[in-house]
Symmetry: C2
Subunit: 715 residues, 2 copies
């Protein structure tokens, strides 16, 4: 076992805790020591013979420059809250309701040119000659009484959002950090020189760990503490905007983006919503800009003889690992913090030399939702194991190169259970990695394609972590898929029309009516609907969940209702009697607790078999269609049992014998079979011990596992 005790582990060091740092590095088998936001490494640590990662947030920590060049700060479009006109004139203070420590009006002439006033009752912009701006307020003339008006405006973002979060959540009291826009020519020259100087001044650093690049995900604070966060989207592009960006866009694309392209009736353009054509153009424009500037930074780092890793969080906007320009940036490694299996797969599949996971919990007093982790009342070892159960099943399918932790190392003092758990995880991770190195685990001949508006760009993730998006049914399905022995790809509606179904066995569409995951107006295209109809008719399989293919305007609410054998009544079925919902015997394991229903779902005919219903609403159905089959989930909440149900559904739909990849007889236990190594990995996801039989093509193995245990059986 000693061969698995060291290597491929990044430890957060901490100045002042030099002995602890070296002791923990030994216990956890670290080969790398890093600093974290808020910690430093001392010479004793840096010179202890470990490889060193140094964390840099390139656009932050330049307050002096920002003070001297306030126009080099980043911006965003915001909309005032609607104001009611009761006469023909109205005055609006645009920033009312926003956090004044985050935003300041950008009322410079080049910004004002992009401001708009909207009559939201009429859904029309107010002509520019009907309003004026003076001293923080917009005066509108010629209002229609009892209409509501908003002002769309540009604002400077004068507090870097991650720093703002740490201050407001963790009561930091240091100076508010500002952030620079790399599109500002002076700022860009300054940042490049700063990085060159930094590299020169930090000769012991092997890897510059960029806490992403330039633009943070969108996080808009309000003034009212009862609703501090007004808007937060891990994948929106609003914080990339500036008059300079808009003018550069216009020059390249030949049309002008307006404030409304961002404001979108006050709702912004959240990632969960289908993108407009303008938004797609703008994203491509920003992605190319980010890649171009990123390449310059990487070159500086390489020229200094160091490697450049990027941490995929915070200021990551425009550098999606599955975007088409990511590989061109030339990063040497991608680091992803993970709570979940889908995040491991996201990292593992990216086109970059080194894939590294930063495990949770972060070494910080409080964690998710402000709950204690390493503070009194916390159970960091329980958190660690809970996340590990999600992570290990994904690691059994696809390897990464490294793991690690982050935060304040001194918080591990006295946390022996946590420290032991991490040690064990390190060993298990290295064993899995070694197995993968000998040959891939057996996989079933099933290719699953997840279909949504974003396609490959948003492979695995929707935006952010599981707990930030768990109201979306698709993330539960992605999480289940992340540990299954099948091939998974992510395709867009355009991909499907361009032939992407050629190598697909099972197509999945899961979302809510009108969102980016279900697809919204994409389903108005008969070419899309008939291509999927053909696919299933000729023998393919389709899985829908929630409100798949839902779009108004057709003769059914689900554009693929005829394939699913279910449709949704949004009121249009008024007076139409439904087919009775009667349960049929299920041809595979059904995880009842994982299932839910979508209101209004009804059968389209008597051929739809109901495997589970709740209060008379179908929760899981099967429908034969041509030579193919379709299944529908009313709700799907991830659990080990839910993942097993999904696997058995895939086997049923495709007529596949699952034993080729190993199949446990216990829903909450999984396995991975590594034929080259003759090794069977069995994972007990239950909180209780169990005797588990594993069926392989030619034999059945029986093994006893402790609660949550993972074992490696050599054949």
């Amino acid at each position: 076992m000693d061969e698995y005790r060291t290597g491929a582990f990044t430890l957060p060091g901490e100045a002042g805790y030099e002995e602890l740092t070296l002791q923990m590095a030994k216990k956890w088998g670290a080969d790398v020591i890093r600093d974290s936001d808020g910690t430093k490494l001392s010479p004793e640590i840096v010179e202890a013979g470990y490889k060193i990662y140094s964390t840099i947030c390139i656009i932050r920590e330049h307050n002096a420059f920002a003070a001297a060049h306030p126009d080099a700060q980043q911006q965003t479009f915001l909309s005032s809250d609607p104001c009611l006109a009761v006469a023909d004139a109205l005055t609006i203070a645009p920033l009312d309701g926003y956090f004044d420590e985050q935003f300041q009006l950008n009322d410079s002439p080049d910004a004002l040119a992009f401001w708009q006033v909207w009559d939201r009752t009429e859904n029309k912009p107010v002509p520019a000659d009907q309003w004026t701006y003076e001293k923080g307020a917009v005066s509108v003339r010629g209002c229609v009484p009892y209409h509501r008006y908003t002002v769309s405006f540009l604002a400077w973002r004068v507090w870097e959002e991650i720093n703002m979060y740490n201050h407001t959540t963790n009561h930091w009291s240091s100076e508010h950090l500002r952030q620079l826009d790399p599109r500002h020519p002076l700022a860009w020259e300054y940042l490049k020189q700063w990085l060159k100087d930094w590299c020169r001044d930090n000769p012991d650093t092997n890897v510059v760990r960029l806490t992403s690049l330039f633009y943070n995900f969108v996080w808009i604070f309000g003034s009212d503490l009862r609703r501090r966060t007004r808007f937060v989207d891990w994948a929106s592009y609003d914080f990339t905007v500036s008059p300079a960006a808009l003018r550069a866009f216009e020059k390249e694309y030949g049309y002008t983006l307006t404030a409304e392209d961002f404001i979108n009736k006050g709702k912004f353009q959240a990632t969960h919503r289908p993108p407009t054509a303008h938004k797609r153009d703008y994203m491509d424009f920003i992605q190319r800009f980010v890649a171009e500037k990123g390449r310059e930074l990487v070159k500086i780092i390489h020229d200094a003889g160091k490697q450049a890793y990027v941490f995929y969080d915070d200021s990551w906007v425009g550098m999606e690992p599955y975007g088409q320009y990511f590989a061109s940036i030339g990063f040497d490694g991608l680091i992803k913090c993970v709570f979940s299996g889908f995040e491991c797969r996201l990292c593992a599949g990216a086109e970059v030399p080194v894939h590294e996971l930063r495990f949770h919990p972060y070494l910080f007093p409080v964690g998710l939702g402000g709950l204690p982790t390493f503070a009194a009342g916390g159970h960091p070892e329980k958190d660690a194991v809970a996340y590990w159960l999600h992570v290990r099943r994904a690691l059994a399918r696809q390897p990464v190169d490294r793991i690690g932790l982050g935060g304040y190392l001194h918080l591990t003092i006295g946390q022996d259970k946590f420290n032991d758990a991490i040690e064990e995880m390190g060993i298990a991770f290295r064993r899995l990695k070694a197995l993968h190195a000998c040959g891939a685990p057996a996989a079933l001949p099933i290719t699953v394609a997840v279909l949504h508006a974003w396609g490959a760009l948003r492979s695995w993730t929707l935006s952010g972590h599981f707990h930030e998006t768990d109201g979306n049914i698709l993330i539960h399905i992605n999480e289940a898929l992340s540990g299954l022995p099948v091939k998974v790809k992510f395709v867009s509606f355009e991909d499907v029309k361009n032939g992407a179904l050629a190598d697909v066995d099972v197509l999945v569409n899961a979302g809510r009516a009108g969102d980016a995951w279900s697809g919204g107006d994409a389903w108005k295209d008969p070419a899309l609907v008939s291509e999927i109809t053909r696919f299933v008719c000729e023998g393919g399989s389709l899985i829908g969940a929630g409100e798949p293919s839902a779009v108004p305007g057709g003769d059914t609410r689900f554009a693929l209702a005829h394939v699913f054998g279910v449709d949704q009544d949004d009121g249009a079925y008024a007076c139409h009697q439904p087919w009775p919902v009667e349960r049929s015997e299920a041809p595979f394991f059904v995880a009842e607790q994982a299932l839910g229903v979508t209101p209004g779902v009804r059968l389209t005919g008597p051929d739809t078999k109901v495997l589970c219903e709740k209060n008379g609403v179908p929760a899981l159905t099967l429908h034969p269609f041509g030579k193919g089959r379709a299944a529908y989930f009313g709700g799907f909440a991830y659990s080990p049992e839910a993942a097993r149900m999904l696997l058995e559904l895939l086997l049923y739909l495709t007529g596949t014998d699952g034993r080729a990849a190993g199949l446990t007889d216990t829903p909450a236990a999984e396995c991975a079979w590594f034929p080259e190594s003759h090794t069977l990995v069995v994972m007990n996801d239950q909180d209780a011990p169990g005797d588990i039989n594993v069926n392989l093509p030619e034999k059945t193995l029986r093994v006893h596992l402790a609660a949550n245990e993972m074992v490696f059986l050599n054949d």
Copy 2:
């Protein structure tokens, strides 16, 4: 009390039970004896000195004429179920899936001219030169593979629907009755002569009780017994159609209605959905036709020295009592069968000399949903009392002239509890009627306007009885309003734009997004939104329930979200944090059990007070707006307590002292104060006895009531 023992009561007589008929007539104080569908009156009954009603369904029971003139039968448009093209040709048998004892294809040349074939995938009609009809099947050429096609066609309705229902539900085995279309010239001449002959042959009949007029509500049966009823709508106009009607319409309106105006993507035009402009034209066209023909029948009846009452059920289509042509028909009386208070108000408010209620249960072995009533296991007295509790509170507000029963009188044999209950109800009814005759009950100075697409045309009812429409929140509110001491009117969106709010204190909008009750696209009109905004801003009150004013395309899901202080997240609020839902103390009685929630409802700001929430979703809120106030119900299920809550909300919104009309201190008890008679009517709606205090402006009365008791207290 003897003064209230007789009169204003219609008894169903039955030949063969002459003694029983006279005995029950005495017990219940009948002054009229009627026949029913399936019963006859014998000479002994007819000559016993009572006034006689005779039931006639004018278009039915003419099978010989229908056999000789099959083209005089009634019709409808139907759509085939969608058929998938897998190549470029497709054959569709239009009637597949329909009940072949109800329908036959009308493939006559003048009908075929109105048939259509639709590509439902593309949502386009197929050009007529791409399809042909032969021997019951439509062949389509030039199909797009994997598109779905439907045939819209005309079908003869060869089984009168009420007769069909009785056969299939109650196992009748007599000849299937057909029905004639009064638009057919020969049929019309025949029917008029038949009625003349009938009047001549039935000299003892005083009142011809027309079981409505010509066109039944829409009831479409399928061939599969698992879903016998495909579509049923108590207020749709589909069964009025024919090529002759379509041609007459075209001549008058200058444009042609197509099959799709009726088929509407296979969903028909249910009354719960907002009407199209074409449908409104067509309804007016039919209403004028029905009134014109109805007038001719009434004249025949009057010329024979008889009166014409109309029973508002079954073949009533086109003669809505609140339609603008109803009064012109000249009926002497309107008879409405009632389960509920709103039905009493519907009848009581119609412009006709005599208003009569037919109580439930009907004297029939089985009742609602096929449950036993007078059959073994039934409890007719319990049913009667349950309906009476709804009816009496409406009767306390607005009187009708008569009550009665229907069905097989012999079923009352041995049902002493039922017979006594009806006797008591008769006495109570006559006392209430006498009170009203002395002077109206005290009412509060509150005018409530219920706002929906139909306005006054669908006053009180949505379509059909309570239990047929109880999935609609509005019917619960209408039922509550039917017994409250306030003025109620029903207004359309056009009415509001034309100034209908001038005399309104509280406006109510209650429905589901996109339905006729909420309003759907009507809310896209800024003039409507700003008029209601003005109304509340200047001091009016607004109550929303369910998904009021919901429409896609605006900056909020509820067009009046700014007034309500709540909006609904249909996905568009993705990434927008909600305001916290925290309960405030309620300024009035809140009937928690009657409340529900609508998924996705969220507060628009911190000024919205939450009086009740369920699982974090607001169930009842209040919001100040300008000088007015708005309230929102997520759900509202009728109960006596719910009605009391609504009353207290109305008092709160309008700042009214409810004691002017009498106010009990018990939520499930109501009262009506008749100042002219100095009489207080107190109704205990609880299933238990109780001591009830009634607060009047200048005093408080205390009274003990038995379970469900109603008392009359003389001041």
